[in-house]
Symmetry: C2
Amino acid sequence: MDKQSVTIYDVARESKVSMATVSRVLNGNSNVRPATKQKVMDVINKMEYRPNAVARGLASKKTTTVGVIIPDVTDEYFASLARGIDDIASMYKYNIILANSDDNPDKQIKVLNNLLSKQVDGIIFMGNEISDELIIEFKRSNAPIVLAGSIDDSGSVPSVNIDYTDAVMDETIQLIKHSNRKIAFISGSLNQTINKKYRLKGYRKALKKYNYKFDDKMIFETNSSYEDGYKLANKLINEKVKAAIVTNDELAAGVMNGLTDSGINIPNDFEIFTSNNTKLSKMVRPQLSSITQPLYDIGAVSMRLLTKIMNNEPINEKQVLLNYDILQRDSTKV
Amino acid sequence: MDKQSVTIYDVARESKVSMATVSRVLNGNSNVRPATKQKVMDVINKMEYRPNAVARGLASKKTTTVGVIIPDVTDEYFASLARGIDDIASMYKYNIILANSDDNPDKQIKVLNNLLSKQVDGIIFMGNEISDELIIEFKRSNAPIVLAGSIDDSGSVPSVNIDYTDAVMDETIQLIKHSNRKIAFISGSLNQTINKKYRLKGYRKALKKYNYKFDDKMIFETNSSYEDGYKLANKLINEKVKAAIVTNDELAAGVMNGLTDSGINIPNDFEIFTSNNTKLSKMVRPQLSSITQPLYDIGAVSMRLLTKIMNNEPINEKQVLLNYDILQRDSTKV
DNA sequence: TTGAAAGCGCTAACAA
DNA sequence: TTGTTAGCGCTTTCAA
């Protein structure tokens, strides 16, 4: 009456072979005589034997599970990456342990160590902020780590991203060409390297290229939430801003709705470019023009990269940059 | 140079006690003399010892990880539940292995067995469709299973939900009171019990109560996607529908945008009620009136319920129903 | 309060 | 091609 109690030993006995042989057929391994293999398989099916992955993990020192650290599953950007990660993971027979970090440095370190103690074979890390302490922990980790859609400025950790600087520069140039003078840069925390050193840099490069002078007052720092964006509308109007680059889709939706509710017409009176092309960006009205990132692929590629590292396969490039595009929808002029 | 190789044996030797004693302090267990405990703790810190969770799992037959089966992380409804699940899980020192099923019956069974072979201590299942085969697998599982935001008609599996029937009935009644005659019921697949036996039932009950006759042509079955909703607009106009109950927020956004783009005014010419109150519902314009479900709590409560079952604690009710509300926003008349 | 020792269910040499 | 056997790193009786 007790469930799940048949072990490799039971099927060995039942099929009159040794445990080693059963283990071999289980792992599709080496040379087992077809007849033997068949016999064992029959017993396995008959007894409904399922290998115990924990025992296997202890003996082989491989758990076929990878840890995935994500700021918040509820964030569509990261959730999309996670989907790509899981699909490729399961394609390669890995499971993923998902852990939310809220982008909190302490929590990130805590869950990292927790994952490591579970003996994951590798880790995919996502996060807007990567502290120096975290990098130190990465270094001492015995499991390989890949960053997905996340920036480590030191460049020491393998990662998959797009060129955020170029993408923002492209958007900004378009806005300039639409003869906008006052172009805002609305981002999440400027403590985050991705915003401060990459996106903002693209914005400045575009300005410089067209001899626009950089104006501090055009930089708006937020917590990336819809609400923060919504509340920003008044400030934007007061500063007579005419266009904006926004680094997060929910934030952009907030900015747009706030502006619209204040009687501003998008895109005629105010143009908006957003960054992630999540589903949301085409569900709002007007639809948001955006950098189009291959979100699913960023996740998928980073997981694929991780499998290569875990198997000691040769790697072409540690820092992978995927292609992006700029998609004109209805929040910018043509 | 090799990382992570210190075992319980090493700290035992170093602190001049037995492995058993180290194990005891590790587990905050029974009686260890404070001085001994301190001594061991010091060595643990000094050596940076981290217990190997796999070995622990094999010996104790507990992995402190639970499996979470989700249709798609990218779906904000389920992602919100997942967030609640993970928070409570980590509060109780569990990790979650997340597996996407795409609501595909074969895949559901596959990932379930995969999770079971990983010796998870329990499982939280989310899905719109629960096949009979799946219920059979649930029964034979040695790990307890709890459904979150998901309906098993047999009522044999513990679950956490809201009363979908009543909620839809409430919405429908409001629509009727706004003197709408032609009220559509727009749902995902009617093969899904939650739609066919619960939500549709609420719709019919409301109709009956007000002596409206049920009309087949007012029932629209979709795949729950934004696109399907968008494309539905024409049909809705042709059938002269004046209001709709929609069972999914993305779907509702699609319906609304489709209608709006066809020149229909929401809510004056067409009223819409949606079902999940995800963030999306207030980012679209007009904002969607909705059933307000405690999404995070549904996940949290189901995880809490699972911890109780895993610890053999007494359970008050196997089928818990959380409260819901109806929130009037701008897609319905006041 | 502590220690000795037997597993947990499997993999992986090493032999045969 | 198959079997024997020693672990993997921990928990948990049972004794002391």
